[in-house]
C-alpha cells in the first residue's frame, strides 16, 4: 500500500466519521449539572487576598468524587476501628444511628478546636457540605440497603469531610515518606477548609487591628484576641502585617514558622498545590501579582510539581501548568513592573542580568535553555528571534521535554531511549517499597522498562526473592548480574512494536567492560504478566 492509497482510505473514513449522527441530548447534560448543583450548593465567600474561583470548582468536583468513590481516602485509625465495629448483620437503622452519633461527636470536637460557636461552625461551607454528604448517605442507606462495603465507604467519605488543616496533617501519623497519592490526599483534606478558615479568622481579627498596632506583646492583648491567635496558629496560620500596617493571617504551610513537622514526610511533588492554594494566580492583569522574588519561589514549587508528579491528568495539574506557562511568558516577555525592553526598543540591562542569572541556574531549570537562547542571540546580533517568537506553546514544550527527557533516536534500531536519572532511581525505590507492602501484584502492573530497572535494583539490594519473581524459569542473566547498580547504567530504551517487548540498558562509560549495552527480552508468564525471559546477544 503506498502513501496515496493510504491517505485516500483515511480520507474516506474521515468522511464517514463526519457523517455520524449526534447522540447526546444537551438537555440531559443540563439536568445532570442542575442535579449536582442542588446537591452541592457550595457557597464560598471571596477572599480579599485570593481569587477563589479555581478552588471552588476544584472543591465542587472533589465533592462529586467523594460521592462516587473513596479510593484516595487514607484509612483513619478511628475509621478502621469503626469498620470493625460494623458487624455483618448490622441494620441500616443501626448504622444511621451510629454514623450520626460519630458525626456529631467529631463536629463538636472541631467546634472546640476552632474556638467557634455552634452558629459559626454551621455557617462554614465545608461543614454544610459535610452535612449534606451525611444526609445523602443516610438517604442512600435507606434506599440501597446493605450492599457490601457501602457502610465502610460511606463512613470514610462522611468523616473525612469533617476536616481542619491540622487534622489533615495529623492523618500522616507516624508514617514516613508518603507516596505521591498519599501526599496528595493530605493536600485534598487540607484544602477542604484551609482557605475558608483563613478568611474567617481574618474577619474575626478586624476589630482588634488597633490593639495589634499598639503593641506586639501578645500578653497585653485581650483574652478573646489571644484565644483567636491561638486557634488560628493551631491551624498553621501565621499573623503577618501588610504594607498598610494591617495585620492578617496567612496559611503559609511551606515556608511559615508554624509549618507542620510532618510536612517533610510528604512527596515534594505536591508542594506546588499547597503553594498555589496559598498564592492563587501569580498574575494580576498582565503584570506580576507578587514581587519577582516571591513569584520565582512559587514557580519553583510549581515546576517541581509539574515535572515530578506521575499524575498529569489531574485537572488541578492543568491549572498549575497554565499558571506556570502564563507567568513565565509574562516574565520573559516583560511586564510593566518588570519590563524587558526600553521604549527605544533596546533590551534593558536588568533584564539581561536576569537572563544571565537564569542561565547560571539560579531560577527555573525548565526555562534555562530558553533564557540561554535569548541571551546568545542577543549577544550575536542584538536581536533575539526566540524572544520575539516566544509563545505559551514553547513553554509548554519545555515542560514536556523536561518530563520526558526523551531522546528519540531515528536510526534503524527503532528504540526510544531516555536517560536514567536520580529521579528514576527514586521511582524504582518507591516501586520496591510498594512491592514490599503489597507483594507480587505490584510487579504484575509494571511496564517492561520498570521491570528491568527493578531487576537491577533487586540485584543492588541482594533481594533474591524479587529477582526470582522477575525472571522466567531458565532465564540466564549472564554478565548483567555483575552490574548490580542502577547508577552503572546511563540510558534505557525500549521497543514495544514486537509481540515480545525488548528493553535495552546502556552501560555508562565508566563501567563498560566487555559490553556496552544489554538487550533484554520479556515474555508473558503463565498468568499473562510480563517477566524477563533472556538477554539477547
Amino acid at each position: 500500500m503506498d502513501d496515496k492509497q493510504f491517505n485516500q482510505q483515511m480520507e474516506l473514513l474521515k468522511k464517514t466519521y463526519d457523517r455520524l449522527e449526534p447522540q447526546l441530548n444537551p438537555d440531559a447534560v443540563l439536568a445532570q449539572i442542575e442535579e449536582q448543583e442542588k446537591l452541592e450548593k457550595i457557597v464560598q465567600p471571596p477572599s480579599r487576598r485570593q481569587k477563589p474561583t479555581v478552588w471552588l470548582t476544584a472543591i465542587a468536583s472533589l465533592f462529586v468524587i467523594g460521592l462516587l468513590t473513596a479510593t484516595y481516602v487514607i484509612a483513619q485509625p478511628e475509621e478502621r476501628n469503626s469498620a470493625k465495629e460494623l458487624s455483618v448483620d448490622v441494620t441500616d437503622q443501626k448504622w444511621i444511628e451510629t454514623i450520626t452519633k460519630k458525626y456529631n461527636s467529631k463536629k463538636d470536637q472541631i467546634k472546640r478546636e476552632l474556638k467557634v460557636s455552634s452558629e459559626t461552625l454551621q455557617s462554614f461551607a465545608f461543614i454544610q457540605k459535610a452535612d449534606r454528604l451525611l444526609e445523602y448517605y443516610i438517604s442512600a442507606a435507606k434506599q440501597k440497603g446493605t450492599e457490601p462495603y457501602f457502610f465502610e465507604n460511606a463512613e470514610k467519605a462522611i468523616l473525612s469531610e469533617l476536616m481542619t488543616p491540622r487534622r489533615a496533617f495529623e492523618m500522616i501519623g507516624n508514617r514516613k515518606s508518603l507516596t505521591f497519592e498519599e501526599s496528595f490526599e493530605v493536600y485534598r483534606l487540607y484544602e477542604k477548609s484551609a482557605k475558608e478558615l483563613e478568611l474567617y479568622y481574618n474577619q474575626a481579627l478586624e476589630p482588634y487591628q488597633m490593639q495589634i498596632r499598639k503593641t506586639t506583646d501578645k500578653s497585653q492583648y485581650p483574652a478573646k484576641l489571644q484565644e483567636l491567635l491561638k486557634a488560628a496558629n493551631k491551624q498553621f496560620m501565621v499573623l503577618q502585617v501588610d504594607a498598610n500596617g494591617e495585620s492578617y493571617f496567612v496559611s503559609n504551610i511551606l515556608g511559615g514558622e508554624l509549618s507542620p513537622k510532618s510536612l517533610t514526610e510528604l512527596d515534594p511533588a505536591v508542594f506546588g498545590y499547597f503553594e498555589y492554594l496559598q498564592k492563587g494566580y501569580l498574575l494580576l492583569g498582565d503584570d506580576l501579582r507578587y514581587t519577582k522574588e516571591e513569584t520565582m519561589l512559587s514557580l519553583n514549587y510549581i515546576q517541581y510539581t509539574l515535572t515530578g508528579t506521575p499524575h498529569t491528568k489531574l485537572l488541578e495539574y492543568e491549572v498549575l501548568q497554565q499558571t506556570f506557562v502564563n507567568t513565565w511568558l509574562a516574565i520573559l516577555k516583560g511586564t510593566t513592573k518588570y519590563p524587558a525592553v526600553d521604549k527605544d526598543g533596546t533590551m534593558r540591562e536588568d533584564y539581561i542580568q536576569f537572563l544571565k542569572e537564569m542561565v547560571s541556574g539560579e531560577y527555573s531549570s525548565v526555562m534555562q535553555a530558553t533564557a540561554k537562547d535569548i541571551l546568545v542571540e542577543l549577544q550575536e546580533s542584538n536581536h533575539s528571534k526566540t524572544f520575539t517568537n516566544l509563545t505559551s506553546t514553547d513553554i509548554m514544550s519545555s515542560i514536556y521535554q523536561r518530563r520526558e527527557r526523551l531522546k528519540v533516536l531515528l536510526d534503524e534500531s527503532n528504540y526510544v531511549f531516555t536517560d536514567i536519572l536520580e529521579t528514576d532511581r527514586e521511582q524504582i525505590q518507591q516501586i520496591y517499597q510498594q512491592y514490599q507492602k503489597n507483594g507480587e501484584t505490584v510487579i504484575n502492573q509494571l511496564h517492561p522498562v520498570n521491570l528491568v530497572q527493578l531487576y537491577v535494583y533487586a540485584l543492588e539490594r541482594g533481594d533474591k526473592t524479587l529477582q526470582a519473581i522477575l525472571l522466567l524459569p531458565d532465564a540466564n542473566m549472564g554478565e548483567l548480574s555483575k552490574l548490580n547498580r542502577l547508577s552503572y547504567f546511563s540510558q534505557i530504551g525500549e521497543y514495544t512494536g514486537d509481540v515480545q517487548p525488548t528493553v535495552v540498558l546502556r552501560v555508562d562509560n565508566e563501567h563498560q567492560a566487555s559490553k556496552k549495552e544489554f538487550r533484554i527480552r520479556l515474555a508473558r508468564n503463565n498468568n499473562g504478566y510480563y517477566r524477563i525471559e533472556a538477554i539477547l546477544d
Partner: protein
C-alpha cells in the same frame, strides 16, 4: 454568537449559552470518543460526562485553549470509560481474535462500508500511544503542536509516533489483506 461569547455567557451561568456550546462541539466529542474505541451505544453517556466536567472547569479556559481542553477531557473520559467497565482488555482480545471476521453490530450500524469498518477496527488494534496521535492528525486535522498539548508529549514525539502509527497501520492492513486472500 461566537464561541468565546458563548463561553463567557455560560461562565455567567447562562444555561442556554452552554447548550449552544454543547451543540457546537458535541459532534467532535462523540466522534473522537468513537474513534478512541467507545462503543456506539455508550457515546451519549461518555459525551454527557465530558460536558458535565467541562462545565465545572469553564472558568479556567483560555480562549485559544478551549478545543485542546475539550479533547483532553474527552480523552480522560474515554480512559475512565475503559477503566470503569474494564472493557479494554476484553475489547482488545476480541479484536485480536476477530479482526476482520466479525464486526460488532453497533459499529456495523454506524459504519456502513466494509472498508471503513476494517480500517476503523484495525486502528483500534494500535497501541494507544500511536492510535491517539494518528486519530487527531488524520481525522481532526490538529496541528502537531496541538496534538502535543492534548496528549502531553513533546513535539518530536508526536511526529515520530504519527510516522510509526502510519507504518504500523499499513503493515496491519496488509497482513489482514494477505490473510483474506489466503
Amino acid at each position: 454568537m461566537t464561541e468565546m461569547e458563548l463561553i463567557e455567557q455560560a461562565r455567567q451561568g447562562d444555561k442556554n449559552a452552554y447548550i449552544a456550546l454543547i451543540k457546537m462541539h458535541q459532534r467532535t466529542v462523540e466522534k473522537f470518543a468513537f474513534q478512541c474505541g467507545v462503543h456506539n451505544n455508550d457515546l451519549a453517556d461518555v459525551a454527557q460526562e465530558v460536558f458535565v466536567k467541562l462545565y465545572r472547569f469553564l472558568d479556567q479556559f483560555q480562549q485559544d485553549r478551549f478545543t485542546t481542553w475539550l479533547y483532553k477531557i474527552t480523552l480522560n473520559a474515554t480512559r475512565d470509560y475503559y477503566r470503569k467497565e474494564q472493557r479494554e482488555q476484553e475489547k482488545e482480545e476480541k479484536l485480536r481474535v476477530q479482526a476482520g471476521a466479525h464486526i460488532p453490530s453497533a459499529e456495523k450500524h454506524v459504519l456502513h462500508f466494509e472498508e471503513d469498518r476494517k480500517l476503523h477496527n484495525t486502528i483500534q488494534l494500535l497501541d494507544e500511544k500511536y492510535r491517539y496521535p494518528l486519530i487527531l492528525f488524520y481525522f481532526h486535522e490538529l496541528k502537531y503542536e496541538e496534538i502535543a498539548e492534548v496528549l502531553g508529549i513533546s513535539l518530536s514525539t508526536v511526529k515520530v509516533r504519527i510516522m510509526r502509527a502510519k507504518e504500523k497501520l499499513k503493515i496491519l492492513l496488509m497482513q489482514e489483506r494477505d490473510a483474506e486472500h489466503g
